[in-house]
Symmetry: C2
Subunit: 164 residues, 2 copies
């Protein structure tokens, strides 16, 4: 029972997502592609990862629809493969953003966060908050309930609070 397979099979969106991102490199590759690093060698250098490993990760990410590989031809050069985020890959941004928020709060040195996210246009810092469909912005003291949804199976649900 390896963790991968266990997680992928559960009726739980956290488990399913974690099965996709199981490996640290997965997240870091998504981060760097999202940052504008699109070529194999650049990724290998930027990440400091073995090329064989990078190759495997890229294949997996393409296979799971997070990245797409396309050939771009810059004027006057030969065609080169590039990796870009798909829609699905871009939607992973919220997970990376959550990791940033957490890391900024708990894992940054006294100097503060290494990177800040700002709202283009207004320039103010951005962070994630929970909002409910009625428009309330949730604070630290608001309780969030977890309840079985339409896709629930006899397995997984959970009657306990959480804090967004």
């Amino acid at each position: 029972m390896d963790a991968q397979r266990v997680a992928a099979g559960q009726a739980c969106s956290v488990a399913r997502t974690v099965a996709l991102l199981s490996d640290p490199w997965m997240v870091l590759v998504v981060r760097d592609v999202g940052r504008g690093i699109h070529r194999f060698d650049d990724l290998a250098r930027s990440l400091g990862v073995a090329r064989t490993v990078l190759s495997r990760r890229l294949s997996t990410l393409v296979g799971s629809g997070i990245l797409e590989r396309s050939d771009y031809r810059e004027p006057g050069s030969r065609t080169r493969p590039e990796y870009h985020l798909t829609r699905r890959g871009r939607d992973l941004g919220v997970v990376l953003a959550a990791m940033m928020d957490f890391g900024d709060r708990h894992l940054a040195g006294p100097e503060g966060p290494p990177v800040v996210r700002t709202h283009a246009g207004c320039g103010a810092a951005v962070r994630l908050v929970g909002v409910c469909a009625d428009g309330h912005r949730l604070g630290a003291d608001d309780r969030v309930l977890l309840e079985p949804g339409p896709g629930a199976t006899p397995g997984s649900p959970a009657p306990d609070p959480e804090e967004p």
Copy 2:
């Protein structure tokens, strides 16, 4: 150069957080403890993980300040160890919530999400959105800029958009 060590050493909150959550079991343990499963055997059963592995993961999570181990005495029984989320562990909730949002959107079957999060009190569904310090709620078309923060080092920053 294993991913763990590379990630932990980077001036990047995403990398630091991912170094903490590297393994799928880590996330699933945090999920289950947050769901109200606090005892060793219950966790082992709920997760379907080998007890040796669970033991190692719990030690790591306690060591990194995400869980704390305490002994509870129920009236009339002997004392039992229990694991609870620390403040830091509760703050990981935003990462799990982000994973839920992503999994609900991209990895759920046609029936819909297996679990829904609702705002206690109003009962409406909850999701994560980016908000900026000026109070604007960010939509899909708002651009977020990544810029070097106070904790930046000559290494890591990144001038490219992202989508929260």
